[in-house]
Amino acid sequence: MSPQSNENNLTPTDMQSNEYSAAHIMAKEARNHSSPCETVDSMPWFGMDIGGTLSKLVYFEPKDITRDEADAEVETLKNIRRYLTKNSVYGKIGHRDMHLQMDNVCIRGRRGTLHFIRFPTSKMGNFLALAKSKDMANLVTTVCVTGGGAFKFEDNFKKEVNMNLTKFDELDSLIRGMLYIETTNPHECYYWSNPTDDSKCQKVPYDFSEPYPFLLVNIGSGVSILAVYGPENYKRICGTSLGGGTFLGLCCLLTGCNTFEEAIELATGGDNTRVDKLVKDIYGSDYSPYGLPGDLVASSFGQMNSKDRRNTVTKEDLARATLVTITNNIGSIARMCAVNEKIERVVFVGNFLRVNPISMKLLAYAMDYWSKGTLKALFLEHEGYFGAVGCLLQFNGESS
């Protein structure tokens, strides 16, 4: 990002104009200035990533507003800012991840705070209604969106809140956002030490200043795996449909739970070894000829074909088994991709990892164990928001 300078040099010429023309003129101004530092786009700045299950909204709250600017700011904009920053729950559907909030960041020459908000994609209708009720339609005509929903909901945005969507590529946004946050937040990247030992296991910051090459495993509803060789140099090498959506879908079916949080909570109290068949369940102990430890899962859900066993397991056990199954499978695929690409660092992101240390520790262990220590699993604090951030960064205040 460009260094911050001249942040206050903008003086809108027509302070009395209505909201629309103010924004219009500001955008026009921005175009007439040559230095990128002077670029100012119409507020508010949003980046949005509409995934299959979850929609992520990143909001930049400027903290460097001058008095002139503040005076010029329309009431709607103020209201929106106030609404977003004073609340953490929006209309029962949206949640702000306050612990992820980033203060004092600089984007396009402006200094401010990044807020991270999410809501279920299935509540898109409620979201649009909320946006309409806050007069969003009068402020911005264009929203920067990535993710599949950018295509799927384009018409809804247009019809219901008179907004045009500027679509950005999902993977470009993901990498851009990730690199930005990682360089901006000194404690963004970490790994889990001693992942199998709960008493010793802890998050340890990781110096990711020399990132390339790395494997980026984005676990949303499904999974995408990218090999990243440089900021602009990456390829999607594969993906799998067994992702967070599979975990949640199966958990809902198996336990009757309704949300990801519930599912994770159930899993936390469960024991998958009552559901899975372990190596020792088959061989009595380790399968020594091939070095397979007895505690290794040989067959996920492998005991559930037995009626007796089905009658003794709890919802918690089933949730745990589902979580372990999906996580281990992602781990296997990621590991093989890393070997194929000859890459040693594997960065796991995506909202599947939110409030989910079980999976992170499992991935950390699996990478280390099966690669005999050559692969390292890395994690990022803002795991699910990089697409939305990348989108925000690409926002230039007008439709492209």
Binding site: G52, S221, G302, M304, N328, W370
Partner: protein, 803 residues
């Protein structure tokens, strides 16, 4: 969609009538060695047993008398039996085995090789029931041993599956060059094994998402608790109601990444907090099947890429040759590997562990040749009901009496296919031949019964044979892939297997002997006629003689009627040969070759029928070549098939002919005329399973001309076979339908002469050095290096290009 439904119908017929009760645990009383593979859901018992069967003696006429009964000698053959049943019946089955074993005490203190996940649990039961000591063998070692065995020995064992193509099943042939490969065993979990040779292999990885996951989750998510029921349920469902597709997220394709809207983005993604479920149990089962099959295919393709393998075989109980699973795995592995990896399935995937465990209990056995017994094996598509009251699958593999290998003169053994027409693909031909064989079976059976006039059981056995064969034909009509590739050769072989099974060792023996004696009476006259001719006319007459002789074929329905009239002789046959040009007519090239080229060093002649064919057709032809200075190897069947001349008969016939013809007598004395056996037991010729001794002799004698005679050996099997040396294929088409199909008429003539391409060199036929030491007659060991020292890849390229 209609076509898809059709193919589903074909894969899962519910209307096929199988014989109600099949003898299970056949030959148990003679069982020698047992091995057992106890799996989570299925158990496979293997036992090696001796099978007594009679061979009819050609020479010993003492038993003949006026009764027409033949003289027999009893032989012992060896056979491997495999019986597969659900593990929950293990106790019933062991009880049955115990009850039926003769002299069960002889097993006390002996050991039984046991493998599989249940080996641990059932050890006490095994020891209790059979008194056998349990010797546990590693599961993976057994799998690989079994897989290698099947790939090397069983034709059409492995296949590619193309759900929407014709044919759906693309079979591979057996052969020695099977390494390296990846074996993905999908049992409860998945093991991925890299196999580089019989000895070198390793477990390179695996995943816990396997058959047990499908079964376990399926039991939790639906009311079906049985594995097969879950598979059936999945057939009916629509995964799109449960899975989140790319288009559910994007509204359409995700074109910038080239992902089609129909791809599954998130398995079970629509099941999230769904309130009112919009899907059925069948939808869930199908989604589950797709989830797991896709995942296995994906992981397999990643391992194949890491280890640089282009062939991946799938085994284990999850597949059970279930079309939808095979289709999904195939699709997934091709998608992820960008078509670089070929997914292959095995007809007998369920038996890998049992075969491997069995092989542990025996030394040496893997050095023999083996043949799938089509009479005793059940198809890989369906289980059969048994007199034990449970459903089982059976596989029987006969130990061949001969070591076999590829004919050393095949231009490209790797691409050789011993069949001209794939009946699975060619529906018209399939329908015709299945019908044709059904119509012919009465004739074969009545002759079989008549060959044993003194036997009180002959009629009963004959009728059982007929029922079995006709049932098989009907079954193949609905399930053309049930026994691998479906070809005329297989149909003919099946008749012979059934004949042997029902103790009709050689129904045509009497007929053959009569015809040989009759034909020998005309040999002198025939030779005299030929000797009066010279040059082109003589060559023509000899070819015409072979062709006329070839009309005498009891296997051809229409001709058999003629032959029964008794006044059909050589002259009459000659009159049937149409005028030239023939349907396939390279006679002039052949004449030119004989007149202008140097004499051939040695000719291998693959002969067809007894009587007129061999004696008045082939012998004069061979005699002429002998007179030109060419050595002759007459190659005859080892076992009887219709009225084809067998090796023992050929030896006697040559001895008798020597009394009539001096050239033949001298040649026999000089060893320039040799009779050898092919190791074949049907009216066709599979040059990929030729008697090793014969192959070695062909190399030793530097065979530079191969003559193949008859419909079965030429038209049905080797019409397109390319040789490294000159090759003459001679046959008369005694089947109107086939003749018309090829553009000729009844008695159309095939006279196909092919020059060798001078550039091709000896190809690697992979006769192992130890095999040569063991199996080679001492006289030729000195020369074997020529055979085996085969050149490398550059030669392969040459031969490919020249094809």
């Amino acid at each position: 969609m209609a076509s898809e439904n059709d193919s589903d119908q074909r894969s899962h017929p519910r209307c096929i009538k199988l014989p109600p009760a099949v003898e299970v645990f056949a030959n148990l009383k003679n069982a020698q060695t047992f091995a057992i593979d106890i799996g989570l859901s299925l158990t496979k018992i293997a036992y090696y047993s001796t099978v007594s069967y009679r061979k009819a003696l050609y020479e010993d006429a003492e038993g003949l008398g006026n009764s027409g009964e033949l003289a027999y000698k009893v032989f012992e053959g060896n056979r491997l039996h495999f019986v597969k049943f659900e593990t929950r019946y293990i106790e019933n089955c062991l009880n049955f085995v115990k009850k039926n074993l003769v002299d069960v005490e002889r097993f006390h203190g002996k050991s039984i090789k046991v493998t599989g996940g249940g080996a641990f649990k059932y050890t006490p039961l095994l020891q209790d029931k059979l008194g056998l000591l349990v010797d546990k063998k590693d599961e993976i070692d057994c799998l690989i041993k079994g897989c290698n065995f099947l790939l090397k020995n069983i034709p059409c064992e492995a296949f590619e599956y193309h759900r929407h193509a014709n044919p759906e099943y693309k079979f591979q042939k057996a052969g020695p060059n099977i390494f390296p490969y990846l074996l993905v065993n999908v049992g409860s979990g998945v093991s991925i094994l890299k196999v580089e040779s019989d000895e070198v292999f390793e477990r390179v990885g695996g995943t816990a998402t396997g058959g047990g996951t499908f079964w376990g989750l399926g039991s939790l998510l639906t009311k079906r608790k049985d594995f097969d029921e879950l598979l059936q349920l999945a057939e009916r469902g629509d995964h799109r109601n449960v899975d989140m597709l790319v288009k559910d997220i994007y509204g359409g394709d995700y074109s910038s990444q080239g992902l089609s809207g129909e791809l599954i983005a998130s398995s079970f993604g629509k099941a999230v907090a769904c309130g009112q479920p919009k899907f059925s149990e069948a939808d869930l089962a199908r989604s589950l099947l797709f989830t797991i099959s896709n995942d296995i295919g994906h992981i397999a393709s990643l391992y194949a890429t890491v280890y640089n393998m282009d062939r991946v075989y799938f085994g284990g109980y999850f597949l059970r040759n279930h079309p939808l699973s095979m289709h999904t795995i195939s699709y997934s592995i091709k998608y992820w590997s960008h078509d670089r990896v070929t997914p292959l399935f095995l007809r007998h995937e369920g038996y890998l562990g049992a075969i491997g465990a069995y092989l542990y209990s025996t030394e040496q056995k893997d050095k023999c040749s083996w043949l799938e017994n089509y009479a005793g094996s059940s198809s890989f598509k369906d289980s059969v009901s048994t007199d034990l009251g449970i459903k089982v699958d059976q596989l029987e593999i006969d130990q061949a009496e001969y070591a076999v290998t590829f004919c050393p003169l095949l231009k490209d053994p790797a691409s050789y296919i011993p069949d001209t027409t794939d009946l699975a693909q060619d529906k018209e031909a399939r329908d015709y031949w299945l019908q044709c064989f059904e119509e012919s079976v009465d004739k074969f059976v009545s002759r079989a019964i008549h060959s044993q006039p003194l036997s009180p059981t002959a009629k009963d056995r004959g009728l059982k044979l007929k029922e079995k064969y006709i049932n098989r034909l009907h079954y193949l009509h609905a399930q053309p892939f049930a026994y691998g590739a479906l070809t005329v050769r297989i149909l003919l072989d099946t008749i012979e297997h059934c004949m042997k099974e029902f103790d009709f060792p050689d129904p045509y023996l009497h007929q053959k002997r009569k015809e040989n004696e009759e034909a020998l009476r005309h040999l002198h006259e025939r030779v005299t006629v030929i000797d009066k001719l010279e040059g082109i006319e003589k060559i023509k007459a000899l070819i015409l003689g072979v062709l006329s002789g070839n009309i005498f074929d009891w296997g051809a329905k229409d001709v058999a009627k003629l032959l029964e009239t008794n006044d059909f002789g050589f002259e009459e046959a000659q009159a049937k040969i149409p005028g030239r040009p023939w349907l396939e007519d390279n006679l002039d090239d052949w004449i030119h070759r004989l007149q202008n080229g140097p004499a051939h060093k040695c000719a291998a002649i693959f002969v067809d029928n007894s009587g007129v064919d061999i004696i008045l057709g082939i012998l004069p032809f061979a005699r002429d070549l002998l007179q030109r200075g060419t050595k002759i190897i007459l190659c005859a069947n080892s076992m009887p098939a219709l009225n084809d001349v067998t090796y023992p008969e050929l030896v006697v016939t040559l001895r008798d002919a020597a009394k009539i013809c001096n050239v033949i007598r001298q040649a026999l004395e000089d060893n320039t005329l040799i009779a050898m056996e092919t190791a074949q037991a049907g009216p066709c010729l599979d040059l990929s399973r030729l008697n090793l001794d014969l192959c070695l002799a062909m190399v030793e004698h530097d065979v530079d001309l191969v003559v193949i005679e008859g419909m079965g050996r030429t038209l049905h099997t080797n019409f397109h076979a390319k040789m490294k040396c000159e090759c003459l294929k001679l046959a008369v088409i005694k089947n109107r339908w086939l003749a018309l199909r090829l553009g000729g008429d009844m008695y159309a003539v095939i006279c196909k002469y092919e020059q060798s391409s001078p550039k091709t060199k000896i190809y690697d036929i992979e006769i192992k050095s130890e095999a040569i030491k063991d199996g080679c007659p001492s006289k030729c060991t000195g020369e074997t290096t020529e055979l085996c020292k085969c050149d490398n890849s550059s030669d392969r390229n040459t031969s490919k290009v020249s094809v």
